[in-house]
Amino acid sequence: MTTVRRDLHRHVESNPGVHFNELTRDLDIATGQAQYHLDRLLDGGRLATERLRGRTHYFPSGYDPIERRTLALLRRETVREIIVYALEHGEPSAAKLAAELDVARSTVSWHVSTLVDAGLAEKRYDAQGRTHIALTHPSKTEAMLTEVKPSLPDKLVDRFTRLVDASFPD
């Protein structure tokens, strides 16, 4: 195995759920070269991917799809806060999440649909027709919380979207 490929494999192993841009940035590899070696690692079954909201996340083998999607989303600051709040408070309503996390309703709604699309949460409706968010795999999700943390660029983008959502309500 080439040095670049070994470095990529190692980096993914120590950062499960790292996304493509982060990989090329952290290892300072050209996009084409990274893509080539990642494809070879995927073909060889040494890595797996999940595509979430336009970004491809890379994982070492050994995680099931639910675990992979959980890790990928726990790397994003806002959705991580929503997950933590839902773990601590059962099935919060969307309005409660927006109020407690102090973010715009559109921010909550975007991240909740990401969670629902990923199969990690489902929407439930109470007697008043309010939306509540229920995690579908709470114990698995809780166990993975400490495995990954959001990186600085991810935090900045998340904070930017919260600012824009709050400044320019739909």
Binding site: R53, G54, A95, A98, R105, W110, G129, R130, T131, L156, V157, F160, T161, V164, S167, F168, P169, D170
Partner: protein
């Protein structure tokens, strides 16, 4: 590098200006990248307007470099800089205008 600056600058001014321009380019380019990633994620008109406004801030810094290096003449510099100020203000005002009045949440 100081030999290449415009005639209207002395050595010290040129150094300070180039440092400030470098910082401005770094800051605005970082913001612009964040804005583009935000737009790619959300894909809404609001995000597009904000990303374009941030892109214009990068363009201002680049034009500043052009003038400091003597490549963009002063009248063109002022026209572009103030024209882009107008464009940034218009983009953000339009984003605010189209965001509308608050509506009750369900």
């Amino acid at each position: 590098m100081l030999q290449t600056v415009g005639e209207w600058l002395n050595g010290t001014e040129a150094t300070v200006l180039l440092v400030v321009l470098a910082l401005a380019t770094l800051g605005t380019a970082t913001l612009f990248v964040i804005g583009v990633v935000g737009y790619r994620r959300r894909g809404t008109t609001t995000y597009l307007l904000v990303a374009v406004a941030l892109g214009l801030l990068v363009a201002r810094s680049l034009v500043g470099f052009g003038t400091a290096m003597g490549m963009v003449p002063m009248p063109a510099h002022h026209l572009i800089e103030h024209g882009s100020d107008f464009a940034v203000a218009t983009l953000i005002l339009y984003a605010l205008y189209r965001s509308g009045a608050p509506s009750p949440t369900t």
